[in-house]
């Protein structure tokens, strides 16, 4: 009887072991689009010139989970973007815009990962053109917004146009909103804070964001702000987008920027790829207070 039981058990083990499912072999694919509107490999672009990359990505059998963009300028690599995502169907088709820096040779590397942690990448080189091609900027000398409990000032600002809307008036303009501000105590310090609709903790202060179908993600360079690398005087002198682009350090950015005190200058990049600077003209340090900022942004 014991032998019979052992035999049956052995047969069950064999049956189970015979059909072990292997993890599928997947190969994601990332391609650079080649239409004339996109920057091609070997292009010559002057510093300040616009770079436009069209990426088409397939998960290769797995969901696309990550896209990383690196700029290697004269051998120095900077991660311009590192985006988590989960795209299980339809792949990814996206257009990325950046600005040519000062390096002699810029290599751009676009890497993707899928849900099986298989990766693929594609790269191109952009050579340095003569002269410069720094672009025009828009200047909004005064945008006044309220902090979270302010009932008199608008809360939702469009950094491109300088417009701001209150809770009632923002309907229909949600896709234009780049910035809001709130105040709180963090690490024992009072902090007027810049945020954006896509930043998850912004919902604590602006639950309305949770109902929006478009929630823009503005990335603020907190390092430059925290360390006062750009002064208000430099902000005032900027008459093209050179400072706006070069001040922004993509390695130290977040969807919120703390300690936006009076006199701070905060580089940012909007969801549509525009670089800019925010100068904090004044910032109250109460939840009912307000903030006045000046903005310079790429046209």
């Amino acid at each position: 009887m014991l032998k019979r039981v052992q035999t049956i058990a052995l047969l069950f083990v064999l049956a189970a072991a015979g059909c072990v499912q292997e993890e599928p072999v997947t190969t994601p694919l990332v391609l650079l689009r080649s239409a004339s509107e996109f920057t091609a490999d070997g292009s010559v672009v002057a510093p300040g010139g616009s770079l436009r990359f069209g990426l088409s990505v397939s998960g290769g059998g797995g969901a696309i989970t990550n896209l990383v963009v690196r700029r290697i300028s004269d051998g120095v690599a900077v991660t311009e973007a590192d985006k988590g995502m989960y795209i299980s169907y339809g792949g990814l088709d996206t257009i990325l815009t950046y600005t040519r820096g000062y390096g002699q040779v810029e290599q751009w590397v676009f890497s993707v990962m899928n849900s099986y942690r298989d990766t693929a990448s594609v790269s191109l080189t952009v050579l340095k053109g003569a002269g410069s091609a720094w672009g025009e900027i828009d200047y909004h000398p005064s945008i006044r917004i309220g902090l979270q409990d302010n009932v008199n000032l608008p809360h939702f600002a469009d950094l491109h146009s300088g417009m701001a809307w209150d809770d009632a008036g923002v309907s229909g303009y949600e896709a234009e909103v780049d910035m809001s501000a709130f105040w709180y105590i963090t690490s024992g310090k009072s902090s007027p804070t810049l945020t954006c609709p896509a930043y998850s903790s912004a919902l604590t202060y602006y639950p309305l964001f949770g109902t929006w179908s478009v929630r823009n993600q503005t990335m603020y360079d907190y390092y430059t702000s925290d360390n006062d690398l750009i002064t208000p005087a430099q902000f005032d002198l900027a008459d093209n987008d050179s400072l706006l682009v070069n001040a922004y350090r993509p390695g130290s950015v977040s969807g919120q920027s703390k300690y936006a005190y009076t006199g701070k200058v905060v580089p940012f990049r909007t969801a549509d790829g525009k670089y800019g600077l925010i100068k904090v003209i004044y910032a109250d340090e109460t939840a009912e207070g307000g903030m006045e900022i000046a903005v310079k942004i790429q046209k």
Binding site: T7, P28, G61, Y89, G91
Partner: protein, 182 residues
Amino acid sequence: MKKVFAILMLLPLMAAMITGCEKEPEDLSITLGAQSNPTVPGFYSVAQNKTYTMSQAADNPGVIDILCFYEAETGNNIALASPGSGIRDIFTGDDMPDNWTIKNTTYFLQTTLTADQFDSVQDGDALIETSFDSENARKKAKDVQVGQVWAFRTEDGTYGLLHATAVEQGINGTVTFLVRTK
């Protein structure tokens, strides 16, 4: 008795092992025959993923997007086109596409995608559409060669990629390909 018991135990287990194992992936290739191929249908519906003979296609012209033909003199060799592409003097008889009341036009563009890259593409991927360039697309995929990947767009706006995996030249020839669509 023991033997009977053992056989009775073994049989269901064997059955479970066989049916439980993952099946080999199906061969989803499509093969189209050129105009005089007597056995392989030469017309294809992308939406239905189905091949038709010319007489069957003549009865269902609205669903036909792609056809195969061979023409050596012009260098077309084994080529793909569509009923609306204006191919003349290739097909004959009452059922030939010239006589159809509906002639869908499909446009083709040879891509630089490799076979491996094609294998990474999944149905529905945006890349299928962006691989197509309407400015440079043509009404024929001329001289289709093994390994080539062609982008296409059908009359009803379906985008596709087509990877040629086998080609046999001649009026009795064939082309075999895999398709991804969006």
